[in-house]
């Protein structure tokens, strides 16, 4: 895989996700770029973070998002 392709596969945009889900690669030219370029990483991270066990299949969230659960230290009194 070339560096450019590798970079593309890391993207969390809707177009990449649809392709990962089995859509033909030509989907990106069939749909408006405003839609295929939509960043779904925050959504994927959120769905994985609030307790829904599966999250969204086929989507890897590469960096920590503000929408992840932040567990707090507990001091018992």
């Amino acid at each position: 895989m070339s560096e450019a392709e590798d970079e593309k596969s890391d993207k969390n945009d809707l177009g990449s996700w649809l392709i990962a889900m089995g859509a033909p690669a030509s989907i990106t030219s069939m749909m408006p770029s405003e839609i295929t370029g939509l960043d779904i990483a925050p959504l994927a991270s959120m769905l994985g973070g609030v307790g829904i066990k599966g999250g969204m299949r086929g989507v890897e969230v590469e960096k920590k998002s503000a929408d992840e659960i932040r567990w707090l230290p507990i001091i018992r009194c």
Binding site: I27, G51, I52, G58, R70, W71, P73, I74, I75, C77
Partner: protein, 270 residues
């Protein structure tokens, strides 16, 4: 108000339909119909892991059966998690996305959120019956499950529990356990933010007995998550907390307090 739903816990599960409730299918279809080539409920919504336990709560059935109290508590917790996630999906970005695709997705999203809200109200007003015919948990395990159920807003009638508990001498329920079961209180789902010093606040959440549970407390977006063994309840934080830094949690027997310190850089000068 008389309940229009009966939930029985502690019975063998009936084999039921895996049919997707209408509101969920409708949202999936409206989200994905433009793409045409894949089956939305199996991909997008399947990925959300709407379990059959959650489907049962969303159904119009007048009688739902769960294998255990813990399973009911988990289903309600999952339903709440989904409601929180859907609430966050309903953003400006999502509205624009729907507009671009001339999709009815937002309408169906709000419809699904409303269905979930109604299901929550139904479950909280339901007549809960316990049944130990197939399996009787230990009092300790049952206590934990009932505490989890109380965390998600459902109360168990201890008199009904006593009536159905096996009566043989070896398995009798001691007065100590009955008293413990009676002490379980439903969580209200609310908290209060109070200023304790300049730029320092404390968010107090009261729930009787919380200090005796193996609770974990976290934050996601504008909600506090209270997690007892994987069963979660969510408390909305005041908007001001988004400009504060959370500290540690002080956990007492009947309440916990989260310390917040104002991030001065994000606070408007007075």
């Amino acid at each position: 108000m008389s309940p229009n739903l009966r939930i029985t816990c502690g019975v063998e599960r009936q084999t039921g339909s895996d049919a997707v409730p209408g509101a969920i299918a409708q949202l999936g279809e409206s989200l994905m119909q433009r793409f045409g080539f894949f089956y939305p409920t199996r991909v997008l919504l399947g990925g959300l892991n709407f379990s059959r336990d959650v489907y049962a709560l969303l159904s119009q059935s007048g009688h739902i059966k769960y294998e255990s109290v813990g399973q009911l508590a988990q289903a309600l917790s999952d339903l709440d998690s989904i409601r929180i996630a859907l609430g966050q999906i309903d953003s400006e970005e999502f509205a624009i996305w729907c507009g671009l695709g001339k999709s009815e997705a937002r309408v169906h999203l709000l419809q699904l959120m409303s269905v979930i809200e109604q299901a929550r109200i139904r479950a909280q007003g339901a007549e809960l019956r316990l049944d130990f015919f197939e399996y009787r948990p230990s009092p300790r395990a049952l206590f934990r499950s009932l505490a989890q159920l109380a965390l998600v807003g459902v109360q168990c009638d201890v008199r009904q529990l006593q009536r159905v508990w096996p009566r043989s001498a070896r398995t009798s329920l001691s007065a100590k356990w009955i008293s413990k079961f009676q002490a379980i209180k439903v969580f209200s789902g609310r908290g209060d933010l109070v200023e304790i010093a300049p730029l320092q606040f404390v968010f107090t959440v009261k729930w009787k007995g919380v200090g005796n549970t193996d609770v974990a407390i976290g934050l996601i977006g504008n909600h506090v998550i209270i997690d007892v063994g994987g069963v979660r309840s969510f408390v909305e934080l005041p908007a001001a907390c988004s400009r504060m830094e959370p500290g540690s949690v002080r956990l007492a027997k009947n309440k916990f307090e989260i310390n917040f310190v104002v991030k001065e850089s994000e606070w408007p000068a007075s």
